[in-house]
Symmetry: C2
Subunit: 341 residues, 2 copies
DNA sequence: CTGTTAGCGCTTTCAG
DNA sequence: CTGAAAGCGCTAACAG
């Protein structure tokens, strides 16, 4: 199957007996042009259904007005929201977007960067894969002076702008809420410990405990690999603890949902016997029974801020010096943590 | 902020004292080339960290190896899965993907097509917006001989390949299941009636009723505009019917979830007092209480099939004659329809 | 106000 | 086996 022919400036030029440059000028509304000529050209272009070839244009001006986006997983609601925010605001400023997913694989992430760079995107927005534990590919982008920003899953040392949530703050909010609900033995279910969010959320958890004069108890920190099996394993462990904790704070909602589902299956009552909270405010968390207390992270907003800042830098509206944008989260208290009722 | 310089073939050529064409040949492993020269060039290219400029290449060969995808909503789990399937399989065959969302707006859909075409994508995969009720933009693509396929939200008359689910079949499965559960007064909650899926699912619903000798009852067909308010309105209406139906089949899961939530708030018990079923098998449907009976539509698979067929056509591995690929759905019976217990 | 010219980075005849 | 030259569609000096 081959594509049909596309009208070019040359053809309009021939038809009208003028030069290609005149066509080019008319179509970008150059002032130094006879209004009548311009009118004729614009009309003819429309009549012939001319569509500019962005490829040629980009090659010529060496700017594609296209941004590359790399996310770990497009099917995650949170990342889909980010993408949505990026797209809308990129389009609003005349930019297109190419999206890739790394599927949580560093090799795929590197491959994605290669293709996007080869496609000559003007800049990149990247959220790192879970697997990403070395950063040469990012430093290479940096040294090649290809502008990029990191969002959500960031690496702190790279001198580029980053957009993150106040993860520690959010974890503090949840933990503080559980404490206010009267819980004192609060388990934190962490993801792999080298993850940025694992560290930050643990930090907030500990800070809240500390304010209540409770000190860190390593038995109360469980680690899951974030798979269904891993999550259930942790749920089992907690249910079987000799002196059962009165609350559990899971690093992300999906973990909390898996834990909840398991506990329901063994008849452990939430929140009566044990309170539960998550993080992210996935759509799922609102509809489980009981509805899950969580912390909302506005993904659309994050995408919007990330792309706006990046484009400000590209367009010279913002300094090239890297900045860090931190979004605040909001506690969403729901029944799963309501021990007062 | 400006991008750094990228190494070009010209520079490699100068450094090695050969011509650009030789570089080009070496890099695409042309056989008519001295092995030693080739080795040297490949080595130097790697050393200089050469990355081909896909833009220039595409302009030259007038193929971008890029596909355009348009979906109504990237944040919908179903469409995100489709995209994921498309991406994975496009990449596998050396193609890139540009994704756009129409946000259920026909104007946005048209705009998306324009940009993608201007970006010279080799072909398009489109799932129509809810608003799309005229099809000039598609016929124009067709007449301009830009290959495209439609998936999920299709328009039947356009002579291009389409990938859909057996929507009528799925609706039949659900309705049949409800009938087997002993329900005889089954309401169908439809979306806007001009939607393809509204029509098809109603068709399956009626077929199942018919097999049980139940004839169409227009009071038992409710229409929602698919907004939260519309869905709740319908839920209210049904709860208030003088002789209340014993089952409700909602055209898509989100509607069923809204209905369920409302009913829970007024104390109407599912499935004891009324059975409920949805369609799509969103992640949400598994975790609501009670878990929702639904029909699963494998989005990843749909994306995969759509893109594979399209690329087969592009690469001449499949005939250009339009075909229709129909995916079967699977009934997912859950507690919300279990009237036997 | 408009045409001529050069060239973005690459591929591909056509000659040697 | 390799180089020279043309050209993909467009923009942007530079002339006039």
């Amino acid at each position: 199957m081959k594509k049909g022919h596309q009208v070019t400036m040359k053809e309009i030029a021939k038809k009208l007996g003028v030069s290609v440059s005149t066509i080019s000028r008319a179509l970008k509304d150059s002032p130094e042009l006879h209004p009548e000529t311009k009118r004729k050209i614009v009309e003819m272009a429309k009549e012939m259904n001319y569509q500019p070839n962005l490829l040629a244009q980009s090659l010529r001006i060496s700017r594609t007005k296209t941004l590359g986006v790399i996310v770990p997983e497009i099917t995650s609601h949170f990342f889909a929201s980010c993408i949505s925010g990026i797209q809308d605001h990129a389009n609003k400023r005349g930019y297109n977007v190419m999206i890739c997913q790394s599927n949580e694989s560093i090799d795929q992430e590197i491959a994605n960067i290669r293709t996007l760079v080869a496609s000559q995107v003007d800049a990149l927005l990247i959220s790192l894969s879970r697997e990403t534990n070395h950063y040469e590919h990012l430093y290479e982008l940096y040294s090649r002076e290809i502008p990029f920003v990191l969002f959500d899953r960031v690496q702190e040392d790279i001198p580029v702008s980053k957009v993150t949530f106040n993860d520690a703050g959010g974890a503090y909010q949840v933990t503080h809420h559980l404490l206010e609900m009267g819980c004192r033995n609060i388990v934190f279910v962490s993801g792999p410990e080298d993850l940025y969010i694992s560290k930050k959320r643990k930090e907030g958890y500990l800070k809240a405990l500390n304010e209540y004069g409770i000190k860190e108890n390593s038995n109360f920190i469980k680690v899951t690999d974030l798979t269904l099996e891993g999550n259930i394993e942790v749920a089992k462990e907690i249910a079987a603890m000799k002196s059962r904790p009165d609350a559990v704070f899971c690093m992300i909602d999906p973990v909390a949902v898996d834990v909840l589902t398991y506990w329901k299956s063994i008849g452990l009552k939430v929140p009566e016997e044990i309170a539960l909270a998550g993080f992210t405010n996935n759509p799922t968390s609102a509809v489980v029974e009981p509805p899950l207390t969580t912390v909302s992270q506005p993904g659309y907003e994050m995408g919007k801020l990330a792309v706006s800042h990046l484009l400000d830098q590209l367009d010279g509206l913002a300094s090239d010096d890297p900045i860090s944008i931190v979004l605040e989260t909001t506690l969403v208290p729901r029944k799963s943590s309501n021990r007062q009722a």
